[in-house]
Each structure stands twice: as C-alpha cells, then as structure tokens.
C-alpha cells in the first residue's frame, strides 16, 4: 500500500500540489488588489454598495470623507465592534463570517487575506525564525472578547462613541495603521498636505509588527487576529477541509517540516490553529477535501 506514493498517480498528485502551491503568492497578490486597491480605485467602483458590506478578510475599512483610501469593503471585525458599541447586533458581519467559515474555514487566511500576505512576504527575509508555544493561539479569542466585544459595548453603554474609545481593536490594529495611516499620509502629500497620519503609538505598532513578522511566521494571525480565530473554529466542520490519504504516506515527516505555523499535522489536519496555507499537502498524502479519489486508491 505504501508503494502508492511512488506510483505515477502519486507523483502526479505531488506535482499538482506543488504547482498549486507555487501559485499561492500570485493568488494572494490578486486578492490584495481586490481588498485594498491602490488609491481606492475599487472603492470608487463599488461605491455605496462596497461601503455597506463587510468583507471576509482582515483589513481596514472605508471611512467616508476621511476614508482609508485603500479599502474596497468594510472590515468585518471593525464593523462588529462599531455596531456592538451602538448596541446593535452585527448580523451582516456575523453572517459574512459564518458563510465564509462554513464554506472554507481559515482558507481565506492562507490564500486571500492581504495582511497575511504581507506577513508571508516579510517571513521570506532570511533571518532566524522563532517558535511560538501553542497556548499563544488563545490570544486571538482574548482580543475578540475584550477589544471587539466587551469594551466597545461597555463604553458604548456609558455614552462614549466608538471613535472616541481608546481600548478598541481599531485603535490598536496594525492593519489599520498600515492600510489607513500610510496611504492617508501619502494621499496628504499628493494633495499638498504634508501631515503624518500615523500617531506615535501606531508607528510603534507598525514597527513591532514588521519586526515581529520577520522573526516569527504570521505573528498576528497566530496570536492576535480575532477574525482568523473565528474562521479557524470552522475548520473541523467546513465544506473545504484537508484529509489524510494513508496509501500515499511514507512517514517522511515532510508535512510537519513544511508547516510554518507549528500545527501538529500528524495528529490533526483541521486544527483551529491552521491557516490552511496547504504547504503540508506537498507530499501528496494530505489532500484538500473533495479531491477526486484516484481509481488506484481502491486497491
């Protein structure tokens, strides 16, 4: 049975997986243009509709006249926090996250998220990489519970509007600092208003994020991203999933070696810590769900 890995079918499968993985940076770049079109081109095309809809990835949102020019849709986490501060149930944002999670789980993290793409690019810088303990993944749910839900609601109830609250996800979010602060500064320069749109606090956050991403694979995704944490909860039930094909496994440990997140792929492929980059599928023994079963597998 183990010889299946070395058959023509097994080699074809590995080649196909490698080709798909080679396309990943280009697919991420294509999504980057969709979510954060330069100079707000996409936001202009989407117009009022775009501003009314939360997206399914982590990025800053379009904010009217004082807008973040790179955003085409709205950040689902920011929208959730805003509506919770107003005492409203964010059904649109929850629905968008539920549909996305139920269909693909955290696949958007590995293939579509612009912020994840930036971290992947920074991780390519050849410096030593630090490992993170598994318990740090719980930080995502802490951020969700405190900065997205509890504090905005509590301060909103006390009459403090969301944009005046300091302890919210938007005030501390590096995505907002990068995707809003930097383009707004550039736009200001182009408009003849040389004004730094990034506060000292945000500048420190940006610096920490950029530095952290060089030495740790996807630090934001693994430790702090509330959206990734939510979507990853669906990994065990989503339509798209990864599965293990034992006839193709030769116990080479390639799957564990290629996982940059530190998921124990030998124990659980659909872990809530997984970003579904699918690097572990290189060997051909881990496959995307709904993958066509080869006829030789029935032998």
């Amino acid at each position: 049975m183990r010889d299946m890995a070395n058959t023509t079918a097994g080699k074809k499968l590995r080649t196909r997986q490698m080709s798909m993985l080679r396309m990943r940076p280009y697919i991420q770049a294509a999504f980057l243009l969709l979510w954060a079109a330069p100079l707000g081109w996409f936001s202009a095309q989407l117009g009022r509709w775009g501003r009314s809809m939360p997206s399914c990835v982590f990025h800053c949102y379009y904010a009217g006249g004082n807008y973040c020019p790179a955003a085409s849709l709205s950040c689902p986490i920011g929208i959730t926090a805003q509506l919770v501060a107003l005492g409203a149930l964010p059904l649109l944002a929850i629905g968008a996250m539920l549909v996305t999670g139920a269909l693909v789980g955290s696949l958007v993290c590995g293939w579509a998220c612009p912020f994840g793409f930036l971290q992947d690019l920074l991780a390519k810088i050849p410096v030593p990489k630090l490992r993170l303990p598994q318990w740090t993944a719980a930080g995502r749910y802490l951020v969700l519970a405190v900065l997205v839900l509890a504090l905005p609601y509590a301060f909103g109830l006390m009459g403090t509007p969301y944009d005046q609250q300091e302890a919210t996800i938007c005030r501390w979010c590096p995505a907002g600092a990068l995707e809003a602060g930097v383009p707004l500064t550039i736009q200001g320069l182009l408009d003849g208003r040389p004004e730094l749109m990034v506060s000292p606090k945000k500048a420190i956050i940006i610096a920490l994020f950029l530095l952290g991403s060089m030495f740790i694979h996807r630090p934001w995704c693994r430790m702090l991203c509330p959206l990734g944490g939510l979507l990853a909860l669906f990994n065990r039930v989503s339509v798209f999933h990864l599965w293990f094909k034992k006839t193709a496994c030769t116990s080479c440990n390639t799957c564990r070696g290629r996982c940059s997140i530190g998921v124990n792929v030998d124990q659980s492929l659909n872990s809530p810590r997984c970003i579904r980059c699918m690097e572990c599928t290189t060997c051909g023994a881990m496959l995307p769900g709904l993958a066509k079963q080869e006829a030789s597998e029935t032998l």
Partner: protein, 98 residues
C-alpha cells in the same frame, strides 16, 4: 521553501484517521449564515446621526458608521427615516477610528 526534516517519531499512517468528511454540516452552517445576511439586510436600527435620531437599515448603518459620527439614539427624541440618498450621510465628519 526548503524542506526541513524534523526528528520526531514517524507518523503511523495505519492508525491515523483520514479526517475525510461530507459537506453537509458545512453547508447547513453556510445556510444559517445566509439567513443571517438576509435578516441583517432587513434589520432596522435607531441611531443618532447628523444631529438627530434616525431609523436606518443595517447595511446603511454599516456605511454610515464609516462615514459619519454615529451615536446611540438620544432618549425622548422621535426618529426619522434616513433616506438612502440623504447627502448628510456623506458629510465625512467622522474621525477615522484607527
């Protein structure tokens, strides 16, 4: 990306579950998400914007919070309907919350 072999106990393929599953549970959850999207599109909220209480749909609310100063409704004040094409919605007075 260079492959790094990690010295760990080898995987025993025979004892490892395949984790293959059907799509039905995911599809049911996706359907629930669609229902929430529809309910969200129909939901109505009362907020303070542009100096008075207004009734807005949730999609308008999503757009409004990113464009204007929005507050919880003032008690004791009647709410008027905010028309979708109301120019006050694009006053752009809001401070960016980032």
């Amino acid at each position: 990306m260079k492959i790094h072999k990690i010295s760990q106990p080898p995987i025993d393929p025979d004892s490892r579950p395949s984790e293959k599953r059907g799509p039905w549970r995911g599809l049911q959850l996706a359907l629930a998400g669609l229902v929430l999207l529809i309910l969200g599109a129909k939901a109505s909220h009362t907020i303070w914007v542009g100096g008075s209480n207004r009734n807005v749909s949730q999609s308008e609310l999503v757009r409004t919070v990113t464009a204007n100063e929005v507050r919880r409704p003032l008690p004791g004040q009647a709410a008027t309907q905010l028309a979708p094409m109301d120019p006050q919605q694009d006053s752009g007075q809001a401070d960016c919350p980032t």
